[in-house]
Each structure stands twice: as structure tokens, then as C-alpha cells.
């Protein structure tokens, strides 16, 4: 591959969704065409992300200077191992959600630009993963947020609007803090390029102010990734939109916050800063605990899952707070497994809703007898989420805990193991109520479900089956996946790789 080809490949995850969104907007009143384009876009995006991933794996970190401006003055896109993994995940999600949307999103929402917005959301997410420029990151965040605002409010039911109000308010505050922090950082260093920042932040005389900026970033990304005590928008909003949107948000959006947290706190701010590490660990502990306790109190399929996202984000942040190469590797493996599993659980909740017409656990029941295959899909994901061996979730939790043991942070490790137990409890709750207990009465909705043609049913199940296969593959090949995570962790722990790739080895 020539340099031009590789540059194009790094750009494609951003350009393709935009191009598809434009085509869909031109055909805004032709839904059939949009559905087909959506499937094409999902598939092409997935293929591109795989190719990008393998290219980065073979050729190492790639840097693209947009507009041909000299680095570090222009905007750069940087694809290192971590970016490549995340883009791969977003490609996977785009692919699965594209198929899942066809059956689950109703016509009224489709007419309100559901498909173009989905593509623009993916563009924003990919942009945030690939950019190597602080201000550009802010722009991608906004691209992502605006489309997510609209997707969240799509349909305009009362609870959706209420959830959206909370989501919008908190996320806007987060953006403003982020913007201010970027401004102050520019004032301190005179650069926005992340690699250049990494070099120049060390040279700033007033290191106290640098820590202040670091905390501003922590607050801002903390809101976006829903850590304690700033998570309240997530359980208030994620259970309201169409389920395909829920699944996409649950899988990807909070992980963008976590990704940027990893990026900023490994690259720009001093990796061995005791203070930052301790703050992050404390936050992580509370996040895990509140999330899982919140979930235990809930009685709605999707709300339990939403609270679990909070608790799981705690693990990822904990892996960051431990600040060793091995813990980063564990954290990355955790992010990957969590994206896949959580999305699949939301897919299954959507299937259950399609059958029974409700998410409320009290009225659900009897699914195991009638739909053993759906139950099996749920069981695999639930086991994975609560960390039962031999599934991927076990390896993820095990490695995070191991990373904690290695540097003798017993308190947080003990907490994480306890939280794992509680996770199992609420998964059991869903299992008992929705699948295991006897059916109370056959709902109106279920008779409707019998009438759905068999092909459509398969289309409904297939994304979940696909994700389950991915989970099983990840569990089977956890070793090789973790090897790659270790490579990535090394890259994060030694920012010199990144800096040399962008600024040229000095």
C-alpha cells in the first residue's frame, strides 16, 4: 500500500458515513432506499474498519495531516492501536445496529431522518476516535452529541423528552467545561496537537494550573462517560428511545468518553501523577458501587441494563486509575468485551419487548418455555456480563483485578469483586422474572407477534445471534485478543511511541 492509500483508509471511517448520510438525505422521502443504503453503509463501514485495523496492526501508527498543513500546526488524524480497536468496535456496532434497526424502528421515526442521523453519529464517533487534535476532538464530540440528541428525542414521547432534557443539559455543561479546558491548555502551551501538548505540558512552569486543567478534563469526560457522581443523565435517558438507539448509545457513546479519558490521561497529563491516579480510583470505586446498587433497585429491563453501564464504566475507569501498562491492557479488553455484550443485552431486551410489548419485569414471564433460543442468547450475554468463566467477561474482570493486585490496591480490587457478585444478582433477577417465572397471561402484543412473517423474525434475531457469536469468539480467543490489548497497553503506557509517530522521531 502506498502512503496515499493508507491515508485514505484512515479517512474513510469519517468520510463514508458522511457520504452515505448525504445520499440518504437526498432520498429523504424514499424509506425503502434509505433502508437498503443503511445496510450497505453498515457493511461497508464494518469492512473498512477491519481493513484499517489490520493495516494498523501490520504497519504501526499512522498519521494524516489534514489539508497538507505542517504538523503540529494543522489538524491531524492519528490511528494507533487503541484508535484502531475502537474504530473496529464502532464498525461492528454500526453493522449490527443497521440490521437491527430495520425491524425495530417504526416508520414514523424512520421518516424523521433516523438513518442519516445514525450515519452522522457514527461519523462523529469515528472522528473522536481518530483525531489527534484537542479542539477537533471537541468538534467531533459536538457532531456526535447533536445527532444523539435528535436520536434520543425521536418519536417525541413524554418520557423521551424528559430524558432528553436531562441528557442535553448535562452534556452541554460538559462540553462547555471541555471547551474552557482546551482554551486554558492552549493558553498554557500554545498548541492543540495532542502529541505536541504531551511534550509541552511537561515544560509549563505552573504545574498547579496543569492539574486544574486535568481536573476540568476529568469532570467533562466524567459527565460524558457517566461516572459517579455525574451519571444521573444516563439511567434517566437510555431506556426511553427506540431500542436500536438505546443499544447503540449503550455500546458506543459512553465508551467515547472513556476512550478520551484514556487518551488524555495517558498521553497529555503525567502518567505517574499520584494525585490524578488516586482521584480516578476513588471515582471508579463509587461508580461501580452506585451503578450496581441502582440496578438492584430497578424493575425495568432496560433500566437495569442502563444502571449496569454506569457500574461497568467504573471498572474501565478503575483500570485507567491503576496506571500501569498491564492495567491499560485489561481496561482495553474490558471496553471491547463490554461494548459487544451490552449491545447484545439491549438487542435482546428489544426482542423481548417485540414479543411481550413491555419492558416491565413484573408483567413479563414465561419466555424460557416459549422461546428457549432467545433465553439462551440472553443467558450467554448475562453470564458474560457478570463474569462467569469461561466467557470473555471473566477474563476482563480477572485481568482488571490482577492489575490491581500487582500494585497492591487491595481495597479497590475487593470492591470490584463484590460489585461483580451484585451484577450476577441483578442478571439473575432479570432471568427469574422475565424468563423463568410462569407466564401470567398472554398479552395482546404476543398474538400480534405470532403473525409476523418468519423472515422478519429471523431478521430480528440475527443481529443478536451475530453478537453472541462474536462474544463466543472473543471468549474462545481471549488469549490472542488479550495479547493485542497488551501491545496497545504498552503503547498507551509509553506515550513516546505516539509522540514520535506524530512529530517525527527527535
Amino acid at each position: 500500500m502506498t502512503k496515499f492509500d493508507i491515508e485514505l483508509l484512515v479517512l474513510l471511517p469519517i468520510l463514508l458515513p458522511l457520504a452515505f448520510a448525504i445520499v440518504m438525505l437526498f432520498a429523504w422521502n424514499n424509506l425503502q432506499f434509505q433502508r437498503v443504503m443503511n445496510l450497505v453503509a453498515g457493511s461497508v463501514g464494518f469492512i473498512v474498519s477491519i481493513v484499517l485495523f489490520s493495516t494498523i496492526y501490520v504497519n504501526g501508527i499512522q498519521v494524516v495531516a489534514i489539508g497538507g498543513w505542517k504538523i503540529p500546526y494543522g489538524i491531524v488524524l492519528v490511528a494507533d492501536n487503541f484508535s484502531a480497536i475502537m474504530v473496529l468496535m464502532s464498525g461492528l456496532m454500526g453493522f449490527a445496529v443497521a440490521f437491527y434497526s430495520i425491524v425495530t424502528v417504526n416508520k414514523k421515526n424512520e421518516q424523521h431522518f433516523y438513518y442519516p442521523l445514525l450515519q452522522i453519529l457514527l461519523m462523529g464517533v469515528n472522528g473522536a476516535f481518530l483525531t489527534g487534535d484537542m479542539f477537533n476532538l471537541y468538534v467531533w464530540f459536538e457532531v456526535m452529541l447533536i445527532s444523539s440528541f435528535v436520536l434520543l428525542a425521536l418519536g417525541g414521547k413524554q418520557e423521551q423528552l424528559e430524558g432528553a432534557v436531562k441528557y442535553v443539559t448535562l452534556n452541554l455543561i460538559s462540553s462547555m467545561i471541555f471547551l474552557s479546558a482546551v482554551g486554558i491548555l492552549y493558553g498554557l502551551t500554545g498548541t492543540l496537537n495532542m502529541a505536541d501538548l504531551a511534550v509541552k505540558v511537561q515544560l509549563v512552569e505552573n504545574q498547579g494550573l496543569v492539574t486544574v486543567v486535568a481536573m476540568m478534563f476529568l469532570v467533562s469526560f466524567g459527565i460524558k462517560s457517566a461516572v459517579f457522581p455525574l451519571f444521573s443523565w444516563l439511567p434517566a435517558s437510555y431506556h426511553t428511545p427506540p431500542v436500536a438507539v438505546s443499544a447503540l448509545f449503550a455500546g458506543l457513546l459512553t465508551k467515547v468518553g472513556v476512550y478520551t479519558m484514556y487518551r488524555v490521561f495517558t498521553l497529555i497529563f503525567d502518567i505517574n501523577n499520584e494525585f490524578i491516579g488516586t482521584v480516578i480510583l476513588i471515582i471508579a470505586g463509587f461508580t461501580m458501587l452506585t451503578g450496581v446498587l441502582g440496578a438492584a433497585a430497578q424493575n425495568d429491563f432496560r433500566r437495569i441494563l442502563s444502571f449496569h453501564i454506569v457500574s461497568q464504566v467504573g471498572y474501565m475507569v478503575m483500570a485507567l486509575g491503576l496506571m500501569t501498562a498491564f492495567s491499560f491492557a485489561a481496561g482495553i479488553f474490558y471496553i471491547v468485551y463490554h461494548i459487544i455484550t451490552k449491545t447484545n443485552l439491549f438487542f435482546i431486551s428489544g426482542i423481548v419487548e417485540k414479543i411481550k410489548g413491555t419492558y416491565n419485569l413484573d408483567t413479563l414471564g414465561g419466555l424460557f418455555k416459549k422461546y428457549p433460543s432467545v433465553s439462551l442468547l440472553f443467558l450467554i450475554s448475562a453470564f458474560t456480563l457478570s463474569g462467569i468463566p469461561p466467557f470473555a467477561g471473566f477474563w476482563a474482570k480477572f485481568t482488571v483485578a490482577l492489575a490491581g493486585f500487582c500494585i497492591e490496591q487491595y481495597l479497590i480490587v475487593g470492591l470490584s469483586l463484590f460489585v461483580g457478585l451484585l451484577t450476577l444478582y441483578s442478571m439473575t433477577k432479570i432471568w427469574n422474572y422475565a424468563f423463568w417465572q410462569d407466564e401470567k397471561q398472554e398479552s395482546e402484543m404476543e398474538r400480534e407477534f405470532y403473525k409476523i412473517p418468519i423472515q422478519r423474525k429471523y431478521l430480528l434475531y440475527s443481529p443478536s445471534i451475530f453478537m453472541t457469536v462474536v462474544i463466543l469468539l472473543l471468549s474462545l480467543f481471549a488469549g490472542s485478543a488479550f495479547d493485542f490489548a497488551v501491545l496497545t497497553g504498552e503503547q498507551l503506557a509509553n506515550p513516546q511511541y505516539y509522540i514520535n509517530a506524530v512529530l517525527g522521531g527527535k
Binding site: F135, Y138, V139, E142, L145, I146, F149, V150, A153, G156, Q158, E159, L161, E162, G163, A164, V165, K166, V168, T169, L172, I173, S175, M176, L179, S180, V182, G183, I184, Y186, G187, L192, A236, S237, H239, T240, A297, Q298, N299, D300, R303, N360, D362
Partner: protein
């Protein structure tokens, strides 16, 4: 002038956060706008305030003549203003629809998402 703007920025941030914490939806919107303006003003102030001294490099020189106003923060603000325009417009539409749907301006009536079913 820099000091004055710094104070104004501080007031805007304070007012913004105060308004966001109010119970009325309209005040929350105003709070969000104030926060946006405060962030923009902060960045503007960082780019140094000089009158009639753009960062042009004169012929024969390697760098611009000090003191000059940095152009990059101003470009950043322009971008941020444009984005803020879009986001705030959306927020207004959303809040208006929420108000019409709920029939109340009071944030405490936005309870249905937090109720345990």
C-alpha cells in the same frame, strides 16, 4: 481590559451555573447560553487583547511584531459559536416541546424517567 474581561467571564460562569441549577426550564436554557458565552470569552481573552495588531508577518521578518493578537483562539471561538448556535437552537426546540408536552415549566415535574416502574 484583560482583567475586566476576566471578571466578566467569571460573572458569566457564575450566572450560568446558578441559572442551570434553577427549577425553571427557561432559566436552564439561559444558563446554558451564558456558559457557552463564558467559555468563548475565556478563549478570546487567552488569545491576548491588542488593538489593531493582527498577527501579520511583515516582509523580511520571520515572526510577527510583538505584541499581536493570536489568530488561533479567535478561529476556535468562531467554530465554537457556530456549534453553540446549532446546539442552543436544538435545545430551545426540545425544551419548548417538552414544555408543551408536560404542561409545566418546572423541572421538578420531569419525574417520569426516575420513577421505579
Amino acid at each position: 481590559m484583560t482583567l475586566l474581561l476576566a471578571i466578566v467571564t467569571g460573572i458569566l460562569f457564575t450566572a450560568g451555573f446558578y441559572l442551570v441549577l434553577r427549577r425553571s426550564l427557561v432559566k436552564v436554557i439561559f444558563g446554558l447560553m451564558f456558559l457557552g458565552h463564558a467559555a468563548n470569552l475565556l478563549i478570546f481573552n487567552i488569545g491576548r487583547l491588542t488593538k489593531g495588531a493582527p498577527a501579520f508577518i511583515l516582509e523580511g521578518n520571520q515572526t510577527a511584531v510583538e505584541p499581536y493578537a493570536e489568530p488561533i483562539p479567535q478561529a476556535l471561538i468562531l467554530t465554537a459559536i457556530v456549534i453553540g448556535f446549532g446546539v442552543q437552537a436544538f435545545a430551545i426546540v426540545l425544551f419548548k416541546k417538552a414544555y408543551q408536552m408536560i404542561g409545566s415549566d418546572d423541572i421538578h415535574s420531569l419525574k417520569s424517567t426516575d420513577r421505579i416502574a
